[in-house]
């Protein structure tokens, strides 16, 4: 008698297995095929193009009624198998029991529905089968319908693009920092995000869904941060789980998936399993290529032939029309791995290969994926690429010629109306025109004819590159010192290009300015983070991991790994209550050293990192905020006692100092900024060696700037004389804002001023009232986002992970 083969699940894996089985021996088994869906096997992958309206269901059916009839398959579609009885060798469905000699479980995966309130509301759909697609198509028919897709992975993005193509208003919510984090690095994810946003898809990363809201039907999605997105449908694409329920109930060995050996046999020799429901050598697969291998192996095993499944590398492509994206293998950074990166900002291309011992380990391609298969093939075969290493990234067809790209590409790619010189409002077109029409050959010529680079000079590098581009070999600019080993561009060029190209994230800067590394280094990342904070105060989200430890934990690290804490004492003035609070904190936390600093305040040194939040909480109760003694930002405003007490005092220097400190604290600056206000020219507050100093005189205030008393010693320059405290505040603020916008990271005011000229600063701040007011209001705007006390934030729980070890172990020693 022919053996009875029962298959649970009519999906892609079982379809392929049946083909292989019938090709070799059509009569070996009496086959019964159960499927929970009310239809036979179809190409599930094509649900995305189907949803987008690019194909029809008939075109994606892989096995039709005729095929099943010709092969004598007893089809039991629409019948879910609910139980396996291994003793009796039967499976149970709604219509009763069916016995088997051999059983194949091919139940695929179940979509993961995130456990939030409202997930059961009508209008919440997954993206797994034809029914889901039909539900989405129906929702899209309503005019102005809105969809929220939860999950920015492969599936979610394909759904989002398809729904958008159907005219829906689509928002993607993604938990992680960047899209498709499992397949893409941040640079490629940035390009993908840009592309999707250009199609009108809104993307919200780091989105924690809190609840799905609605009265009898989905109406909106609520995030943890309070954001609400209206939604007529919510597509759950947050991941999949192997569908193992019947196998677990039957007592088969199941880990994440149903555990199988190389022959696809489960812990019960009569039962095989294939497809996404399976775990082989601790790996579960979610792409069809390996599942097809499994199908072939299972067919052979059933027929008693030798066959073994081997783990395989998989490559990913995103099936969204107009996006080319390919990723394969392991592209994580690790020592001894090298990477080759090609970025062509103008063409929107990013390619990255990760190599080890001259073999390709991983590849990420965006924009131009023509060579994906070629790289993947070499990756699988372990080809030694040392011969072609230098030109490998240019792809298979690259023979010889062009070589690495032109370092001037970033400037060449700027549109003609991109502003090059911010001070004088000169765009790229004006400069190149002047160069060709007037036959200019030097920087001086350009300055004389266009005024570009003639003021603050931060655009000098760009102007020189324009000269080089326009004149070619004939021009030889002075070498610019690159920011770090990750780029050829200097600080000034990077700053100007961030503005000109409106770059708003670190991955965006690295992609558009063709960074040579994928993740930057400890030199460029903090600098870029500052430039972005300064240039886009409202839009840029500070990149915590790009800050030096002191700015990350808001305290100063000491040589033994403990920290020091310096609270603000506005203008150096304190009170009995404040001193008592400090004394209590010192006692309570057993702080070893308390010192009066050179900046007129008190430093508590030797605090254990774990204690910091509690120390701040206590200090906060007494009204203290962070003194930013660690920050590239405003440090102290030293004052003297002034007219309140001193017999020589001409103005309220203490009050003015406090006013300035309260106005400017919290702002990030290229390097630290220290100020002082002295009540008369005797200058007890040492204002004439500060970044900014004010000397009060009978007729008003003398503003000084660009002093130094650290590594260099330098007396200040006079900026000018003003009459009122309000004037002081406006001029000093404008000066600091000008510095914030122009200086290079870690460049103190005196160095910046020497570079661009004290006269130019005086001209812009003292003489040009409009410009001064514009600087002032930009500073005021950015303070809206900056004046948050970092200590109280952390005392109430922010960045908790920083202050606690992840785990403590004190297990007993190993037995003798």
């Amino acid at each position: 008698m022919t053996e009875k083969l029962v298959i649970v699940g009519a999906g892609m894996a079982s379809g392929r297995m049946l083909e292989r089985l019938f090709e070799t021996d059509p009569d070996a088994f009496d086959v019964t095929l159960f499927g929970a869906e009310p239809r036979g096997n179809y190409d599930r992958i094509m649900l995305s193009p189907l949803l987008a309206g690019e194909t029809s269901f008939a075109e994606i059916v892989t096995h039709d009624a005729e095929w099943y009839a010709a092969n004598n398959v007893a089809c039991r579609f629409g019948e879910t198998v609910t139980r396996i009885d291994r003793e009796a060798r039967t499976v149970t469905s709604a219509k009763g029991e069916t016995s088997y000699d051999r059983l194949v479980i091919a139940t695929g995966s179940a979509p993961f529905i995130i456990p939030v309130a409202g997930r059961d509301l009508p209008g919440v759909v997954a993206f797994r089968d034809l029914d889901d697609v039909q539900a989405m198509v129906a929702a899209a028919e309503k005019p102005c319908a809105r969809a929220v897709v939860i999950g920015g992975g492969l599936l979610g993005l394909e759904a989002a693009a398809a729904l958008r193509a159907r005219g829906m208003d689509v928002t993607v919510l993604h938990l992680m920092d960047h899209l498709m984090e499992r397949q893409l690095d941040p640079a490629a994810a940035y390009l993908l995000k840009k592309n999707l946003e250009e199609r009108g898809i809104a993307i919200h990363c780091k989105a924690q869904t809190k609840a799905i809201l609605g009265n009898g039907r989905t109406e909106a999605v609520l995030l943890d941060d309070g954001t609400v997105y209206p939604a007529d449908i919510v597509v759950m694409a947050a991941g999949i789980r192997p569908e193992t329920r019947i196998a677990v109930d039957a007592g088969l060995h199941v880990e994440r998936g149903i555990v199988v050996d190389d022959r696809m046999v489960t812990s019960d020799p009569a039962i095989l399993a294939i497809g996404e429901c399976v775990e082989h050598e601790s790996i579960c697969y979610g792409l069809v290529a390996p599942l097809y291998d499994m199908a072939g192996v299972a067919a052979k095993t059933l027929l008693g032939k030798e066959a073994a499944f081997r783990p395989v590398e998989t490559a990913t492509k995103l099936k969204v029309t107009g996006v080319s994206l390919y990723s394969a293998g392991d592209f994580a950074d690790a020592p001894e791995r090298e990477e080759i990166v090609l970025r062509d900002a103008a063409a929107g291309i990013y390619k990255r290969l990760v190599l080890k011992d001259n073999q390709i380990l991983g590849a990420v391609l965006y924009g131009d994926t023509a060579d994906g298969a070629w790289f993947f093939d070499m990756l699988k075969k372990g080809v030694d690429v040392s011969e072609m290493r230098d030109t490998l990234i240019f792809g298979q067809t690259f023979q010889q010629g062009s070589g690495p790209f032109d370092p001037l590409a970033a400037v060449a790619a700027l549109p003609v109306d991109a502003e090059i010189c911010g001070c004088n409002g000169i765009c790229k077109g004006r400069i190149t025109e002047a160069i060709t029409e007037k036959g200019l050959t030097s920087l001086e010529d350009v300055r004389a004819h266009t005024k570009a680079s003639a003021s603050c000079g931060t655009c000098t590098g760009l102007v020189e590159q324009l000269l080089a581009l326009t004149l070619g070999e004939a021009y030889n600019p002075a070498a610019i010192e690159p920011m770090c080993g990750c780029t050829e561009l200097g600080h000034d060029d990077v700053r100007r290009l961030i503005k000109a190209k409106r770059l708003k994230t670190i991955p965006a800067v690295m992609q558009e300015l063709e960074w040579k590394t994928s993740c930057g280094c400890a030199k460029c990342r903090p600098a870029l983070n500052y430039y972005l904070v300064a240039d886009w105060p409202d839009e840029y989200a500070d990149d915590y991991q790009s800050r030096f430890i002191n700015e990350r934990v808001h305290a100063n690290i000491q040589k033994d790994g403990t920290y020091s804490v310096v609270p603000r004492m506005w203008g150096g003035v304190t009170s009995a209550a404040e001193l008592r609070a400090i004394a209590d904190v010192v006692d309570r936390f057993d702080i070893p050293t308390v010192k009066v600093t050179g900046g007129q305040r008190i430093d508590m040194l030797g605090i254990r990192k774990e204690d910091l939040p509690a120390v701040w909480a206590d200090l906060g109760k007494a009204g203290f905020v962070s003194g930013h003694a660690y920050a590239k930002g405003l440090r102290t405003v030293k004052t003297c006692v002034g007219s309140d007490w001193c017999r020589f005092g001409t103005q309220d220097s203490t009050g003015l100092g406090i006013r300035i400190e309260k106005f400017m604290w919290g702002s990030w600056t290229p390097a630290k900024v220290k100020m002082a206000v002295s009540g008369c020219p005797r200058n007890c507050a040492e204002a004439t060696c500060k970044d900014v100093g004010i000397i009060c005189v009978e007729s008003g205030f003398e503003i000084h700037f660009a002093g130094a008393a650290g590594l260099d010693i330098r007396g200040t320059e006079v900026l000018g004389h003003v009459k009122t405290e309000d004037d002081v505040l406006e001029h000093v603020t404008a000066l600091v804002q000008m510095y914030r916008e122009q200086a290079r990271y870690l460049e103190r005011i005196y160095k910046w001023a020497a570079r661009i000229g004290h006269d130019e600063i005086r001209r812009q701040i003292m003489e040009d009232a409009d410009r001064r007011k514009a600087y002032f209001s930009r500073f005021v705007f950015s303070q809206k986002f900056a004046q948050v006390d970092p200590w109280s934030e952390r005392a109430s729980g922010k960045d908790k992970h920083e202050f606690h070890p992840m785990a403590e172990f004190s297990f007993p020693q190993a037995a003798e």
């Binding site: 690095d185 950074d333 280094c521 430890i549 297990f811």
Partner: protein, 115 residues
């Protein structure tokens, strides 16, 4: 004897960041890179004892917060001109859970980390 125990979840550590674990042989830093690789390395710079866990993580390297030496997370070896190495420990990460071999943490088998 090797015995792997769970020390935490991948999601406990920020990307391009580190957390510490306290063990009988001293403090060990667990790093997570931008690509979600994890590494365990003694939390003590061979130069002057800086806590490496507090440094900036870039690629599979960390820059010490005290004097900016750069170390490979995989081998613990100082990069560039600087010489020295911090001890590394085997780690394994599966399904977002991080495991460590307790054998490497037994005072009997592993010398304590210098403090």
């Amino acid at each position: 004897m090797s015995e792997w125990i769970e020390i935490g979840k991948l999601s406990d550590i920020p990307q391009r960041g580190a957390r510490c674990i306290n063990t009988p042989i001293g403090r060990i830093a667990i790093f997570r890179t931008a690509k979600d690789d994890v590494y365990a390395i003694e939390d003590r710079c061979p130069h002057k004892g800086g806590p490496l866990s507090q440094g900036i993580v870039h690629g599979a390297q960390v820059t010490c917060p005290l004097h900016n030496w750069v170390f490979s997370l995989e081998t613990g070896v100082a990069q560039g001109m600087d010489e020295g190495a911090a001890r590394t420990f085997p780690l394994s990460c599966k399904d977002g859970r991080i495991f460590m071999d307790t054998a490497a943490l037994q005072p009997a088998t592993a010398p304590p980390l210098p403090r």
